[in-house]
Amino acid sequence: MSGTKGIRKYRNIVKVLAFLRRNNKVTYGVIAYLAALLLSAFVLVAYSPRSKVVGYADPLLPPSPQHLLGTDILGRELLVLLAESVINSTVIGLIAATIGTLAGSLIGFLSGYYGGKVDYVSRLFTDVFLSVPSLLFLILISSLVRAVTIVQMGLLIALFAWPWPARQVRAQALSLKEREFIYLSELSGESKLEIIIREMMPHMIPWMTANFVNAFISAILTEAELSILGLGPQTEMTLGMLLWWPLNNAAIYRGLWWWWAPPLIALIYLFFTLYVVQLGITEIINPRSRVV
């Protein structure tokens, strides 16, 4: 039994992938993002972990054949720090986007499908959380929870990543609920939870994917913002922390371009690739939205 179930699951994943591949933008965007990840992983393997240690080389060396991106104020190899921060920022994005999308979708399904009091309460909370400036809360919480780790950062951001998916999935669930195949499964005795997971969820996968990419982008940017404000992970490197260091040491005014420019370019690059993916998914969902 579990074997066939596994194969069926696998087939579904292939179907979703094939579905997403219909759009060039999604393919190219994903490939470009994965390329950055691979490159970072390669750098981390190629360099010894000692190059991230304080005092590994002389501080603030400009780029040279020995130090491809130069070194920072503590004499650490900037290329290695950049590689590490690309991977760590991705991990934060994945954690926040996965939890936010799944929790939000579940709330949306329950709210839309059950209706009544469940709907009223969850809609109220969604509205309240949507109108609360989430960044401010994140600032407050992370200023108390000192010395966050990568995982904690992801979880913190996930706390505020659920309301959008919840609202969107709810709207879709409301219309799905009235379709005939849902009536049929109700009549054939499927439980409500089964209907949500087995009947409604597959229809929502494009929307959930779009939400996931959205949440992914905004999690990476939120991390950067929190870290630039001085609230990032203290012991691990992220793109935000890699920007906090030069900004906090007036690197722009001191002409230390190799210190602040690479993380900024990396941030824009990751953002751009994900943005292209997002455009592609929007086009798949709504072909009329084609802009380019």
């Binding site: 109108s131 400036p133 401010l136 919480i141 200023s143 000192r146 001085g230 722009i252 953002f271």
Partner: protein
Amino acid sequence: MSATAKYLIERFTIYLLTIFVSFTIIFLVPRLVPGDPLAVFYDRLREAGAMQGVEQMIEEYKRMLGLDKDIFTQYVSYIYSLLRGDLGYSIGNFPAKVSDMIMEALPWSIGLLSMTTILSWLIGTLLGAISGWRGGRLSRVFSIAALFLSNLPYYVLAILLVFVFAYTLRWFPYSGGYSVGMTPRLSLDFVLDVMWHSFLPALSIILSSLTWWYLSMRSMVATVKGEDFVVFAEAKGLPQREIMWNYAVKNAILPQVTGLALSMSRIFVGALITEVIFGYPGLGTLMVTGIRTLDYFLIQGTILLSIFAVATATFLVELTYPLLDPRIRYGGG
């Protein structure tokens, strides 16, 4: 109950709940975090070498903050002091009251952000109206660029502007709100100096928020352009200019106006990273000072103010929606 009353009550409930939930979270978070909310403060005192009287001082603080009472009493007095507008004392800058520090920084943020918000709204809306009305390839190219720019984090632009205009070209000062050595007073010199210092931060904010206004106005005008009454006006032979301003723009401007009202509430939040990058003495910098000096009450105070301002503005705008546009009915969904 009429639909109007129902709508008003629902909006008001959400408004109160937003504030209540936010303030309660802000109250609970420091007490849920393991350890003492004042732990950081003790460490600072110890680092500063204060040996004598630390115990008494901590006791005094605890009494002052009501930390020796049970959580319910604490909560009631917390809400009560908020109602009186009392935000407590700064830890990093002790005898100073948080509300006074905010009052000092607030005019800077209000000045910078109200100016930039209105300017970017005007420019963006105007460009959007023209681009939406005319259409064509140039308009498409612009909107693709704007679409990308509008999503780019705002501080990216700020960093690039500092690099180009302050570091490379040296046209503008590096940071601060006014030149070192000048005393803030109402004179032409001082005002010009402030404007010179705030040019780059203002430009970065205008450029990054302009794209939003441009995009929304463009799509609204393009939608209205296809409406029957516009076609009818064209058939009547009215001049294009008149149709654009009196027919298309007039109908498309409403969402822009409400958007403007909503974003005006942001002036109480400050332009966080932009202020930090330019060393601008507003609320954002104040908040970061709080973060840097581990001044919990300063952070809490600025955040409470921001949340209150944003929620209130949202509520007021929602109340006036139906007044501005009779097409919107109260209630509905």
